[in-house]
Chain length 303, copies 3
């Protein structure tokens, strides 16, 4: 999923494919994965920066995990810890999520977490993806996605969990749940989140064909709420946040819970089965093979 | 809720705020409530007039409870009795609901029924709100809302229960479930009714921000079915009614029940819990305080 | 249902009403029904032709049951057998459904299967309608409806079960679930299929009033996915099919099942009750009378 945006926009290719480049230098081989993971855990440079403005009660979370803010296990762990800290701080009422990297919001789940990994590791990874979704979709804070770049697959999911979505009006950027294009499948709670946003039929079509949409299309179908020039994304997010914060917290929070509880309860009740389902699927020989084919195609494109 | 429309349209302010004026003269004080309620019950001027045309099988119900057709316990009781009478008259096949007052269809739940009242009285009031919804949403008659004025909160809910909605195309009029703006919350069956009409995401956004829409916006999002010049609202409603009555009653009624039964069953099953939930919420000190602040703000605006 | 399209387009009348003509010559009388049914079963000319292209993996199914591809018990039986054969052939990945007749895709359920029949026969017929829906809505193949003519009632349902719908852009053609116009009712699974496609409110309005839409309206509301000039329907369907087949089968199939399983499970669980419900309804004297009135009106129009 992490590389899909590259397929549609050759201009964005160099940036988005630098991850493949890093794969070439040590991450594609399963044998080197553990070492890399260790290095990452010990990394002193965080993958996310958080600026919290006490005067407004609004935190801005900037993702900066080059080259494309892939959602690796490490990234997700750091992300969830950051969200939880803000959630527990009563003075923090709003959260804006954006990217510090050019051209990409988040390229989605890190394909390297799904390729050549042990079932245990895959399960751990999937639990972290669930955790991100649960934390964001049920957050008591007002959450706004300031989508300043492409946002395929897991990047789109992250956006969809927010209360409001503002996207940079750059026709080279795309957003969507394009999993089937890689031969994998968005799980039911990705589907539910999208259907809650754009309805059943649009979701059926989008998921079946793995469609990615440009900002204009995304606005028309309701996948995002606003599109603005790229340099206005953050200021627009701040203005929208002020509007949301004008509503009394308790009324807004009860309303949000009422809208989302059923969808959240569904995953909570089936969480372990969903992990087993993912692990069983992703570790199949046929799926591993199609991920390998996909990675090799990307490497060739780069070369 | 009863006064929200006033906030957006200063021109409508004088009409809508006269209720606040009446509060000043005896209804705000909890001690005077019982007396006022008694007076109302004994009132000889009805809050609703019903004209039933035997030749067409269509009844027109006109709300005339100045200044803004607030849904008080008395009003709701009279309303439900009127609907039930028509429902039991086999010759009555269609019902058009409209307002006899200028500029307002109904300003929604009477805030004075929620401020400074005993839990018992609050519970009685809420049961009457449920009753109105249950009667209208499951009516065997064709129901058409001829929305000839602003219709916030409970007024919007009343419209949403109808089979068809025609609104006066006056940009000063607004419609929507704006409860959160007052620090209160639309219950799940308000939410379900709106989601059945405009979908999940539009409802989430509308309820979270307590949005009110002008007629054009309401038409675009599907909150109303038609907008027409103000003096054409009733004739358009009559024409629409003729179209609906051309469908055999039994086929239309079975279809209506099929579309709405699940939503109705949900409230029926949770009715008592929903009352307890409302009473527990509305009698909280913090909620009472925000209602007081709201009332005081309105009084100042008026002055 | 079978004749409804005729009501809106006098130009299509002669074609669509020839079925009524055949009714005049032996099928309206209940006593002659069994004989006719026998004749049909022994018919050597199939009502459906199937062309399967091994090189593309795509089958084209052409309905040719003059005059209007009514869904009789015989037709449905043949239809289901054809679909099942293709479903079991692993090399068949896609199915395009279209009509060989001019001006009509399918006029829907054969009214003659519902008029003057024994309860047993009605039950057998309804089971076949369910079977068609279950087979198509859960098909592992990519299914595309190439709607090259009017498609009321059961014809609309058949289209709605497909993954994608392309309609001929001829303003004389209509599509919709217009059952209430005949005094009968679309069952819950017709309703669910339509609501999954165009949403709850649009479905409520469409079913209550038995609305038929022209291609432009159908496109705007999402009832069909594309409209193209009449002579481009098949080539467009083939192009769309190629796009769908570019998605790995397993990912697409899992996604399709995820989107539709709940709706399918609902009918599966209530199948017998749904048959009893249909039989009880359709054999009522009042319903039989309104079908007779309808048939007589059509005969008069023809004359």
């Amino acid at each position: 999923m992490a590389f899909r945006a590259a397929l549609r926009n050759t201009s964005a290719l160099s940036g988005l494919l630098s991850q493949v480049s890093s794969c070439n230098h040590g991450r594609v081989c399963a044998s080197s994965v553990f070492v890399v993971a260790q290095q990452r855990n010990n990394s002193t440079s965080p993958k996310i920066t958080v600026d919290f403005d006490q005067s407004t009660g609004v935190a801005v979370m900037r993702m900066k995990s080059p080259p494309v803010n892939s959602l690796s296990l490490d990234f997700l762990t750091e992300f969830c810890i950051s969200v939880e800290k803000l959630e527990m701080d009563k003075s923090c009422r709003g959260l804006i999520i954006t990217s510090s990297l050019p051209k990409v919001f988040s390229a989605g789940l890190d394909i390297m977490e799904m390729y050549g990994r042990s079932p245990e590791r895959c399960g751990e990874f999937w639990k972290a993806v669930q955790e991100m979704w649960l934390k964001l979709y049920s957050s008591n804070m007002v959450t706004i996605a300031a989508i300043n770049g492409s946002s395929p697959a897991g990047g789109c999911l992250m956006s969809l969990t927010c209360d409001y979505r503002i996207m940079a009006d750059n026709p080279r950027y795309t957003i969507g749940l394009n999993e089937t294009q890689l031969g994998i499948v968005a799980p039911f709670w990705f589907k539910d989140t999208m259907a809650n946003t754009v309805g059943h039929r649009t979701t059926e079509l989008a998921l079946a064909l793995g469609l990615l949409y440009n900002p204009n299309e995304a606005l028309t179908m309701g996948l995002v709420d606003q599109i603005v020039p790229e340099d206005k994304v953050m200021t627009t997010a701040e203005q929208a946040m002020a509007k949301w914060l004008a509503i009394p917290d308790h009324a807004r929070q009860i309303t949000k819970s009422m809208m989302r509880k059923q969808t959240i309860d569904k995953l909570t009740a089936k969480r372990e089965a969903d992990i087993q389902n993912f692990v069983g699927f992703i570790t199949k020989d046929s799926i591993q093979k199609s991920l390998r084919v996909y990675l090799e195609m990307l490497k060739k494109r780069k070369a």
